[in-house]
Amino acid sequence: MFSYAVKRILWVVPTFLGITIATFALMHLTPGDPSLSADGLGQGVLSASEHQRLSEYFGWDRPLGIQYVDWLWAALRFDFGRSFADGQPVIAKIGRALPATLLLAVVALVASLALSIPVGILSARRRNGLFDSATGVLLYGLYSVPSYVMAVLLILVIGLWWDALPFRGMTSDGFADMSPGQKVMDVLRHVILIAVCLAYRPLAFQARFIRANLLEVTDAGYMRTALAKGLSPGRALVRHGFRNTWIPLITLIALTLPALLSGAVILEVIFSWPGIGRLLFDSIMRRDYPTVMGLTVLSAVLVLLATLLADLAYARIDPRVTYD
C-alpha cells in the first residue's frame, strides 16, 4: 500500500510537468499579448516603442524555455508571481475567487449525490416499475437540457416571475451589515439557482449510473445468499449491493470534483457568480499568463490529487483491492 502510494505520487511529477509545459506553450504561442487585450482602451494607440518597453518589463520577449524555467522555479517555492493585469499576487487573486467556487462545488456535489443515490437505489429495486420508468424519462430529459438553457429558464420563472430567489452574485447589497446567521442564509439563497443548474446533469448521470451498477450485482451469488439468509430485498440491495457500486461511483466523483472546482464559466457569467471560471476566462482574454498558469496548476493538482485519493480509497472500501 505504502509503496504503491509513493509510486503513484512519483508519477504525479512528470504528469504535472507535462500539463504545465503544455499550458505554458499554448498560452504563449497564442497570438496577441497582454498589451493587446480586449478591454484595454486605445488598443491601437500604444506605440511600438511603448509596446517594446512593456514587453521588456513583463519579460514576455525572452525565449519561451527560459520563461518557463523561471516560472517553474518560482512555482516550486509556491510563488506564482504577480498578475500582469494589476500587479496583485496570483495567489491572492485565486484566493478571492476560490471560496465562491468551492461553495458552489460542494453544494452542487452534495445535492446531486443526496438525490442520485436514493433515486438510483429505488429505481434499481423496482426495475422497470413506475418509479424507475418515470425517473428514467425525467432524468434523460434533464440530462439533455443544456445548463445555460436551464439557467435562463430558472432565472425567468423563479427569479423574475415568482421573485422567490436571487439570481445575481453571491451576496445581497447589505451583506456587510448582516448578522452571521443572516449572512449564511443570504449566501445559501444566492447559491440555490446556480447550484441547481450545476447539479442536475451530474444528478441524472449518477442516478442512472448507480441504477445500472446495482442491476449488475442483483444477480450475483452473494445477493442470493443475502436474500436466502432472510434479508429483505431492500436491505440486501443497500447493504450488500450498493457497497459494490461505491468503487465506480468514487471514480466518477473524483473526476467530477476537479471539473466543478475549475469553475463553470458560462453559469458564472449568467449568474454573475464571482468564481474561478470568470477569473480564468478574463485572464485568458487578457493574456494574463501568470494567473492562467496559477489556475492551471490549481486544477492540475486537484485532478491528480483526486484520482490519487480515489485509488487509495478503493483499498479502504473494498478489501479485495490491495496494492502490494
Binding site: 497570438p31 478591454d39 494607440v45 511600438a48 512593456l54 494589476d86 482574454m285 487578457r286
Partner: protein, 573 residues
C-alpha cells in the same frame, strides 16, 4: 439647424422601426418602454426639495475592472469609476466641448504663444483622508505617469506631450508644452494620485505596482472627488458613497453600486426586477423592448447619437493585388449594402455615415456625397480597373490573379458577421470571392497591427477634437500608429499638420472639412454608419443626459442624476 435635422431623421427612423405603439408617440398606449421621455432628463427643483438625498443607484458594469488605480486604469469601466473618485482637472461637457472642471479649477490661463498653461486649483480641495490636495500632487502624478519604471499602458498617451509640469505655489501648476498646439490642453486631463500615499511606497517599489503596499493602495483607491470608495468584491460589485466633505457641487445620489453583470440577458432581467438602474442595450434588446410589458413597467429607453463609426478597412499597403486601386475600393463600397446591414443589425436605428465625422460634429463637411449601393456600377468600375469576369468560371481576374480575398472579423463583434454575410453575397454576384476569418480579439488586433490582412471590419470611437485622426490617417503612422490599412495622401498629411498647430477655429474647420472630403474620396475604408448609444434606465431616475460618448466620460454626467423623494427604492425585495 443641420444637426437638429439629423437628430429628427434618426428619431423618425427609430420610431418607424419600433412601431406606432410606443409611448413616445402616444402616451395612452403602453405596453413597451418609452424612448427619451421628458422625465428622464428632468432637472430637479432648484431648492432640492423633491430630491431623495439618500438614494442608492445601481449601475451596470460588463466586466470586472483590472484595477482601480487611477494611473493604471485602461478600460471604460475603470474610467466610469475613476471619474467619480478622482475626476480630471479638464473635462468634456455633454456637447463635447473642452472645459476645466468647475469644482476643481479656479482659473485656467494659456500664454499668448500657447506653450504654457497655468491652472489655479480651488483652495479647499482635500483628499478623502482629509489631507490637502495640492499642486504637488499634480506634479508628482505627472512624473509617476512618465516614469520609465512604471508599466503604464494607457495614461502615458497624451500625458507624454506635456514637457514640464511645475508647482508655482501649493495651488498653482504650470504646464509647458513642446510646441504650441490646439490640442495640448486636452492632455491636462491625466489621473492624479496622492503624493503622500504613493511617495512612501515608491522607494521600495519604483514600479508603483508590484508590492503588497501598492496592491493595498490600488484595491482601496483614495481620491478627492465627490464620491469615496467603499468596497470592491471581485466580479460582484463595487460600491461608492457620496463624500460629504467635497467642496464642489454636492451630487444628489448618495450611494452608487456598480453591479458586475457580464451577461446582457441576465442584466436585462435584473433591470426588470428592479436590481439595476441603468444598462446599455443591444440593438435587438432595444427594439424588442417596445413590446415588452415587464420592461415598460420597470424602465425607459434612451437613444443618443454616438460619435464613432463602423467601417470596412481595405489594406492598401501593396501587400495584396486588390485594394491599392481607388477604383476597386469604390467598387467595394458600392457593393456594400449599408441600408440592409443597418436594418439587420441595427433595426434601422441609425443612418449610413459620410466618413470620419458625425454630422453633429463641428468639423463635419456637408458637401460630402455618399457612394450609394449599386452593384451594377460596381461591376462596371471593376471592369475599368482591369478586373474582368472570366468566361470559364465566372470569377474576376486580372493578370491571371483571381479576385479572392479574406475579411478578418473580431469575435463578439455585433456587426461583423452580418456585414460580412451581406457583402459576400453581393460580391459573389459580381464575380468577387470573399472569405471570412473570425479571430479572438487580441489575435485580431495583432493581425491588423501587423498589417497582415486583406480587409477587416472595425469601429473607431472619435475623440472630440478631429486631431485624433492624426494617428489613423497620416502616412507616417503606418508603423507605430493606427494606420493599419496603409493609407497615404500627402495633402491629408499636410492638412493634419497645419490644423494641429493653428489656433484659428475657422481655419482648422476648413482643414478638417477638407480632410473628410479627401478621405471619403479615397475610400480607404468603406464607411458604414455611426452607432448609437442605446440605454435603459429605471423609471425612477431623473437628470440623465447622454453625450456623444454615451453615459460617462463627460461633465457633469452622473452628478446630474437624481431620484425623486416619492419614487421609493427600486430594491424593495
Amino acid at each position: 439647424m443641420r444637426t437638429n435635422g439629423f437628430a429628427t431623421l434618426l428619431l423618425t427612423a427609430l420610431l418607424a422601426a419600433i412601431g406606432p405603439g410606443t409611448a413616445a408617440v402616444s402616451a395612452d398606449q403602453p405596453p413597451g418602454a418609452q424612448v427619451n421621455p421628458a422625465s428622464l432628463s428632468r432637472v430637479p427643483p432648484a431648492d432640492g426639495r423633491d430630491v431623495d438625498w439618500d438614494a442608492t443607484v445601481y449601475r451596470s458594469l460588463q466586466g470586472n475592472p483590472r484595477t482601480l488605480s487611477p494611473i493604471f486604469r485602461s478600460s471604460l469601466y475603470e474610467f466610469y469609476i475613476a471619474e467619480l473618485l478622482s475626476p480630471p482637472l479638464v473635462v468634456w461637457d455633454e456637447k463635447m466641448r473642452w472645459r476645466v472642471h468647475p469644482d476643481l479649477v479656479e482659473s485656467y490661463e494659456e500664454s499668448d504663444d500657447h506653450t504654457t498653461a497655468t491652472i489655479r486649483l480651488r483652495p479647499r480641495l482635500k483628499w478623502h483622508d482629509a489631507r490637502p490636495f495640492t499642486a504637488e500632487d499634480v506634479v508628482f502624478s505627472w512624473r509617476a505617469i512618465l516614469d520609465e519604471r512604471v508599466p503604464i499602458r494607457v495614461m502615458r498617451v497624451g500625458t507624454d506631450q506635456i514637457a514640464e509640469c511645475r508647482a508655482l505655489d501649493p495651488h498653482t501648476v504650470r504646464f509647458t508644452f513642446d510646441a504650441p498646439s490646439a490640442v495640448s490642453r486636452e492632455n491636462l486631463g491625466f489621473s492624479i494620485v496622492a503624493r503622500h500615499v504613493y511617495e512612501p511606497g515608491q522607494r521600495d517599489d519604483p514600479t508603483l505596482r508590484n508590492s503588497d503596499y501598492f496592491n493595498r493602495v490600488h484595491r482601496n483607491p483614495m481620491g478627492y472627488g465627490p464620491y469615496r470608495f467603499v468596497e470592491w468584491l471581485d466580479n460582484e460589485r463595487i460600491v461608492l458613497e457620496r463624500w460629504d466633505d467635497y467642496p464642489g457641487r454636492r451630487p444628489y445620489i448618495k450611494r452608487v453600486v456598480f453591479r458586475i453583470a457580464p451577461d446582457a440577458n441576465s442584466a436585462l432581467m435584473m433591470l426588470k426586477k428592479g436590481e439595476l438602474d441603468e444598462m446599455p442595450l443591444r440593438a435587438t434588446q432595444f427594439a424588442g423592448a417596445s413590446a415588452d410589458e415587464a420592461f415598460g413597467r420597470a424602465a425607459v429607453r434612451a437613444f443618443a447619437p454616438r460619435w464613432d463609426y463602423v467601417y470596412i478597412g481595405w489594406n492598401q499597403d501593396g501587400s495584396n493585388p486588390f485594394f491599392n486601386d481607388v477604383r476597386v475600393r469604390r467598387a467595394m463600397t458600392m457593393t456594400g449594402n449599408a441600408p440592409l446591414m443597418i436594418e439587420r443589425i441595427y433595426h434601422n436605428l441609425v443612418a449610413p455615415c459620410f466618413g470620419i465625422y458625425h454630422p453633429d460634429h463641428w468639423a463635419f463637411e456637408t458637401r460630402v456625397k455618399r457612394v450609394a449601393y449599386n452593384t451594377q456600377q460596381a461591376a462596371k468600375t471593376l471592369d475599368e480597373a482591369g478586373w474582368r469576369v472570366s468566361d470559364e468560371d465566372g470569377w474576376r481576374y486580372k493578370d491571371g490573379v483571381r479576385f479572392e480575398f479574406t475579411m478578418l472579423l473580431a469575435q463578439g463583434s455585433e456587426a461583423g458577421p452580418t456585414v460580412a454575410a451581406i457583402l459576400q453575397e453581393d460580391l459573389r454576384s459580381i464575380g468577387v470571392a470573399m472569405n471570412t476569418q473570425t479571430l479572438e480579439w487580441a489575435t485580431f488586433l495583432q493581425r491588423i497591427r501587423g498589417h497582415d490582412f486583406h480587409a477587416c471590419v472595425g469601429a473607431w470611437g472619435m475623440d472630440p477634437d478631429p486631431d485624433s485622426g492624426w494617428n489613423i490617417w497620416r502616412t507616417d503612422q503606418y508603423d507605430s500608429g493606427r494606420n493599419y490599412v496603409g493609407y497615404s495622401n500627402p495633402r491629408v498629411d499636410e492638412l493634419y499638420e497645419q490644423a494641429r498647430f493653428s489656433f484659428d477655429y475657422d481655419f482648422r474647420r476648413r482643414c478638417y472639412g477638407e480632410i473628410q472630403q479627401l478621405i471619403y474620396a479615397d475610400q480607404p475604408y468603406t464607411f458604414l454608419w455611426h452607432r448609437a448609444s442605446l440605454w435603459a434606465f429605471s423609471k425612477r431616475l431623473r437628470g440623465v443626459r447622454l453625450s456623444p460618448r454615451g453615459i460617462g466620460n463627460f461633465y457633469p454626467g452622473m452628478l446630474d442624476w437624481w431620484v425623486p423623494a416619492d419614487a421609493g427604492s427600486i430594491h424593495d425585495s
